[in-house]
Symmetry: D2
Subunit: 361 residues, 4 copies
């Protein structure tokens, strides 16, 4: 229940940071779709540690194995299980953390909920859990390539701390984003952002920021009027990621400063297609896609694990201090970009199949 | 599926703005809980139109009838169905709207999804749909009063357009909020906000704003590590409300401007209880409540229906103009306060029962 | 959860035998389907008491009201809520039953589970709960009439106690079944069965029997390989009906007496279509329909409420005796026929929409 | 969806007969429960091929690996993933079967549903899929040992073809059942049943039979009044197993031959506990356990794969003949016993947790 996402393209992730491995089971995947393992691996490589000089040096190959559900390169329509082994485990780095609660991390609340926890690498709260999501989305992407060939999801780092780029969601390209290690969409911000991350890391500190996403070519009609609004499911998907603190679609929080007259998106016709002149709605109206670009932003707080001594409490309920150890990102945003894309694909494919079920197309 | 919310305290809402009525079926309610119909009716009255001079004059009594699931004043553990009849229907006000798509409303996307729609009063996109949610939450509130007596949810209008109040979530009271027709938590903002809403309405325009919520007395341990994080379910709940564009928990978007050293919430002991010195986490860490106040904000865009002529397109695909008619709120926030509270109660009770199922308490 | 059935055509029933009413909310119904209220009412009339001389004289009109989800005679794609008011309530008939547990009825187990219950008319265990199912299925039938026009579900009374008819599932007609008040498919058994029911009622006793069902014209491909096998969902649907004790598909229990050589259904070609020479499989192989007639039987025990004094225990935990009162069926099977059909339609439409979602057709 | 079972103790199985492996992910397992891998392995060994002279000689060690969710021997409350590698693959044995549909097997319907299939070993329809169920149930058994120590599930072979044993469900022991390779509960039937299976195999034929199950020590109150009746969920669980054709609880189909007066189970008091004098109800009344032994029977058809030439059709739609190859069971019942037990444990633990969620105990 709590580890299952989606209603028709349903994924079930498993695995702790340390242990046999992490992975996912996908249930409900359409049959007969050609699947390339390289595409899965490429997306896993985009999220893995050690990929550049500004992310954690923890070096894990994250090689994925498809255990089931694919035969002669095509989906069978049966569950697709994908496993990535854990390799670079260094439990000793976590000895102190087993006894002391890291501030703003999940250590204390896991104990409060479950009565005990796997302290190594944060257990289930580790970013490694997202491997299953990325792998499942890499398959969703290949399914959608056949079912909705126009559809494309792109995410990029919009800001790191107070450094904010300028990006046109209608034209930004994968080449631009993947062409820099920060994965920002504004080439002018690459160097300043890299400098900020390096300086932050040298200081044993951390920074957060925002990631922006566009879904281009989404057909109108995806979503639902009430609880399963497209933006509601996107909000849940994004807030289910570690370190997220906020979500906004279209005009978002700044839209509250406009009047209705300024905010409304007038309809017009373009080649007999209904379009809107502005897109404050962010591509979603009444919970349902309107064919315009879907646009949203996600806020990531600064990483909790920092290399400075902090006031805290031990699991034995004694006040103490804790200084972070191990290998951690001073800024998770570059690695979060493929994860945000992944969650977007998972929401979109689910609503695509739901639309096909209820409305036949 | 799309009209069902919650996993253990599961509500299923139904009803369009015009037609036989709106309501809800609650499945999974604990048995043996005393239910007061007055408490339900009181919450329905807080959300109904016509309650004050700054909301739409559409006057509907919204009298609720419990059809099942309660016997001699106590819940049976069987489905509780609640019906509120539609009374003040004026379909004629919608004649023009049946033919022309209101900008930034759900008219066009409903047609795009379903092939047709009930144009009267917006059909399922009407705020009347939230009656079922409020009624279901009023029962949830009474259940939680027995199962977690310390727990209390309070929402208030934090801002309208650029008017922003100052409120201490730890001490703000229901009396303060319900003591003014705007439902703001800052008495100093009552008059300016009322003036703004009245001026906006006179101008045939509309405004939006933000609603802030605190959950006080929530036990630690509610939520889940991955997809069903407490904040993820709250985000979905809030974005499932009409006119919402954003959600943030704790430090939210502004937290992205801090460093980890500034943002982390140090743990300390207070009377042998684990507490945090600051609350940038907003009461949730690793997706699970930590016992501090849960704090979040929701952005509402300005109401789409305005009394000015706007460029649009007809369902016959012709460019045209449309001027709003009927009785609408120039600002939905005062009436949205009890709805935001309702969705919060629904998320909390669901996770409370889930915690009891999995962890036994 | 416990009162919701189906995954894509999802119904949520509510209501006790006595109280405001009973009904159903249907979520996920395809939009744009013409709905006739008469068809719903006709199916409700087939299950209602008082319809003939061999069923309980409790006379309830069971008039249904569609509260939402249908506009100008067509489904909107939004929830369809249907309400049937309770009218002929005689709670006084249940005074003694409120204090004493009726043997083989749900009184004791409801108390054991929920701590209390609504003793009037059996509360939620009343056959009135099935009204919501029948109404939801009457709509499903109309949807399927458009999506799979060849598909037809027919149920009939196959046996009452040791009286067993002979029926050819391939040719039996609705006219034959509805043409007699027992709803048996074998005209020769009508009189003997009526005599048996009348004699049983005169004796203050009750009898059970079996109902057989055929689904004709079901397209191949409905169902799933593992948990949601078509026969598994049918079994659950049937055992979810009051008074049922068994389910068998195709050769069923008697198939265990054959060898594989006798039991296997050889494939052959008929007009380029793959057919089987025999149908021991009952139209389902590997959990998935194969295009042959789907065939199954359901066992109904004799009604628990009898007009004879029986040994029992009171809710105050004292040994006592109880003699049934009120108006009850001496044999529920004639009225159960439309209910078994209804559950079949609900399973079939759900798998039809699931097939469309996953496999596109 | 189709490969997920349970609502609170939710299992997701994956894997084909040939490929990387088969397994399961368990979501919702209570935390802090000591888990013994040996108990899991022992149950897997009970279902594996090659365990005795009357089952298929296919020799697979079926060694399980727990990938996640258990730390220092205790459940974490996070997903428990279990993997069993496929080892003894002989795809060549299936060359002919890839082209011709085996009668009464899933080959044709898989093609009809998904458009293609994995022909090796039957793919997802292989009995190997049940490995995940058995492993998940072995953990459920250990959880229940702590939460409901009195509770015990026992299944045994009640009949093979027309050989039927006599067993007292109240006293039959695991030692008796596991003490013979047929897993019958009646020692007198061991030799005749072994002889029948051997003779059948020599003849290249197959036989079916019935398995009976008792749940002893089940607390009253498990189940639900309507769709999720305990017997409905058991029926679905059993009919979700390969080769099953029927399910009956308590008096079952033979109960339809009794009158109400004979069938009703009178209540009486035993040591202040409410008991029934007879148990035609099979331990379930109104869908809810009443504290008596839960009793049900499942019908298994004779295995479809036989070593005789049979009429069939190829996937190229040509009429042809097919003679079974490979290593198959002439009678699946001895190996099905632990699988039936497993499904029973999965249903019981799910309802146990549901009861704790809704009713607090």
């Amino acid at each position: 229940m709590a580890n299952i996402f989606g209603k028709l393209y349903q994924i079930s992730t498993f695995g702790e940071s340390h242990g046999g491995g992490v992975g996912v089971v996908i249930d409900g995947c359409p049959p007969g779709i050609e699947i390339s393992e390289e595409i899965i691996q490429k997306d896993l490589d985009r999220r893995r540690p050690g990929q550049s000089e500004i992310v954690t040096p923890r070096n894990e190959a994250d090689a994925c194995e498809i255990l089931s559900g694919v035969h002669e390169g095509k989906t069978l329509g049966t569950p697709i299980a994908i496993l990535v082994r854990n390799k670079d485990a260094r439990p000793s780095a976590y000895d102190e953390m087993a006894l002391k609660y890291r501030p703003s991390h999940a250590d204390y609340t896991y104990d409060a909920k479950f009565g005990h926890r796997n302290p190594n690498g944060g257990g289930r709260s580790s970013a490694r859990e997202t491997i299953g999501r990325v792998a499942a989305a890499a398959i969703a992407k290949q399914v959608l390539k056949q079912l909705a060939p126009e559809l494309e999801v792109l995410s990029w780092v919009a800001s790191i701390k107070d450094l904010k780029g300028t990006v046109d969601p209608a034209t930004v390209s994968s080449e631009t984003i993947e062409g820099n290690i920060v994965r920002t969409g504004d080439p002018a911000m690459v160097e300043p952002m890299i400098e900020l991350i390096k300086a932050t890391r040298s200081d044993g500190n951390s920074v957060g920021g925002t990631i922006e996403t566009v879904v281009r070519g989404c057909p109108p009609g995806l979503g639902a009027p009430v609880f399963d609004r497209l933006e509601a499911d996107l909000a849940k998907a994004m807030l289910s990621l570690p370190a997220t603190k906020g979500f906004e679609v279209g005009s978002g929080f700044s839209g509250t400063l406009l009047t209705g007259r300024e905010h409304n998106d007038p309809f017009y016709l373009e080649n007999d297609q209904i379009r809107t002149r502005t897109n404050n709605s962010g591509g979603v109206q009444g919970g349902i896609s309107n064919g315009e670009n879907i646009l949203f932003r996600v806020a990531f707080k600064p990483t909790a694990t920092i290399m400075t001594s902090q006031e805290t409490v031990s699991s034995a309920k004694e006040e103490t201090e804790l200084k972070g150890k191990g290998r951690h990102d001073a800024c998770v945003l570059p690695r979060a970009v493929p994860i945000v894309e992944a969650m977007t694909y998972l929401v979109v494919i689910d609503h695509f199949l739901r639309q096909r079920a209820q409305c036949g197309a």
